[in-house]
Symmetry: C2
Subunit: 267 residues, 2 copies
DNA sequence: AACGACGGTTCAATAAATGAACCGCAACAA
DNA sequence: TTGTTGCGGTTCATTTATTGAACCGTCGTT
């Protein structure tokens, strides 16, 4: 791992619950020498990727990120495009929909949309990081990722988020086979209690899986009818979002969804 | 300059007109060795700050920026806050308003807002880079920056954007003195023909100038009345935005605006 | 006044970045 | 077909930049 990666890794310690971090704490968290962290942060500071705030000179993510993400959005309007498709999804399902994308070995929620149909709903956080093994999105991504990536994820310790989380790599690998057969992944209370989610993969131009689109509902509401509606809508949405990102579905996924979507919707 | 800075500098070559750049071109632009650029881009790639696209594997800004800027926005909601103040500005002036922030030695437009009052209006681009010497925002920032920074900017070649652009560093330094006397900067057709803009500085917690807030109108509409209304609104807005970003105005600016705003508005 | 934790700095030791040359490939021209 | 050019990506000896223990001054607590 190069110096640049070490420096950039420091950015990962900033999240919703830890927005401002001091030098010493950053050194502790990253396990690196304080002087090293200081120099890295200074370089990030010069580029506006972080800024220092307050009398104790804590670091937080910087203003340059706003500019860069604007440019990113101009170059690849994924956010805007995603939003529309997610909205269409929760019109059809009356449930929460979200899009997540692979970033390194993490899976980040990059956009989500709520339905106002029900008083209760599954809620999301901005820029939430979700796990691969315990969410439908993560499983959908894994199922359509290359073996090397699967191994990398599944060889790490798998957090048991709830009493229902499946953490046995062998069982997960079996599930991935079934997901490829069905074209979509399901997770019931694996990441959060009482959340039933269904997800389909999203692909890039090289037909690599780069993320997933999902619908999440309270367990009680996710009955057979809603499942059918959701899966149908998700298949279409995953193809659309893949296309709008300039990607193409994996060949088997393309064939599978082609078959499913050509037959009339029913149980 | 460290390795990290070199790598991060590569991100600066991506802008609105150059959204996708190949390895060779990036090496040429940055004047660095191709292998070096390749390794740096690979590291940025791993962190999702850039991504590769197309058969020619060109680079463009990556999806991680969306996540990071979401987190930045959660930690320091400057964008959201700015928007409201900018909207208030164009309610008062019926003209385009925008906020720009220093990033390194660049000045970036981070937010803008249009008024729907007139059929014609000054338009902006997302993440536009504006020059220091030929815009009211740039001049306002320079006027309230430390001498070292002024020297750095004014010693570079100053682009003559229009027939009216002032590029003589001596004249510009005289202007900066007047700007500090008046508390606001003006630019008439210096950056774009037919645009008259007025700007006030914005400060951080250390009372350093970190950006400017401006109103821009077609030259013909910027009459004495509108100027008065605009300046009054800008003084208030610059203090508000400074405060909302956790900053404090420079002592002289604080005193100046205090005097101006305590006297009744008139010509 | 002594203590510990903080942000920031130093400098010899060393591990990491570097770049010329290279590979294979694709597009194009003769 | 053959030769050329420019591309993305890779190699490895050279060297340059990164590293971390120890340090400084400051601040709040004891």
């Amino acid at each position: 791992m190069g110096t640049v990666s070490k420096a950039l890794s420091l950015l990962n310690y900033f999240n919703l619950s830890r927005q401002e971090i001091g030098l010493a704490e950053l050194a502790r968290l990253s396990g690196q020498n304080k002087a090293t962290v200081y120099r890295h942060m200074t370089e990030l500071l010069e580029h506006g990727l972080v800024e220092q705030v307050g009398s104790d000179r804590q670091y937080r993510l910087g203003p340059a990120l706003i500019k860069l993400s604007s440019l990113r959005e101009a170059a690849a309007p994924t956010r805007e495009v995603s939003k529309k498709i997610l909205q269409m999804l929760n019109e059809k399902t009356c449930e929460t929909s979200h899009l997540s994308m692979i970033a390194g070995t993490q899976l980040n929620v990059t956009a989500y949309s709520y339905s106002s149909r029900h008083g209760t709903r599954v809620t999301m956080e901005d820029a939430e990081v979700i796990s691969f093994h315990s969410t439908s999105s993560g499983l959908a991504v894994l199922a359509y990722s290359e073996a090397h990536f699967q191994d990398q994820i599944l060889s790490r310790p798998l957090e048991k988020r709830t009493a229902f989380t499946i953490t046995d790599p062998t069982k997960i690998r079996d599930m991935l086979d079934r997901i490829r057969d069905q074209g979509c992944a399901e997770s019931v209370s694996g990441f959060e209690e009482d959340v039933h989610s269904i997800a389909c993969p999203v692909f890039n131009a090289a037909r690599d899986c780069i993320g997933a689109i999902a619908v999440a509902a309270p367990v009680a509401r996710m009955n057979t009818d809603l499942k059918d509606i959701t899966k149908d809508a998700l298949f279409k949405a995953s193809l659309e979002i893949t296309q709008l990102m300039g990607g193409f579905p994996a060949h088997d996924y393309e064939a599978l969804t082609g078959r499913i979507l050509s037959t009339p919707l029913s149980g």
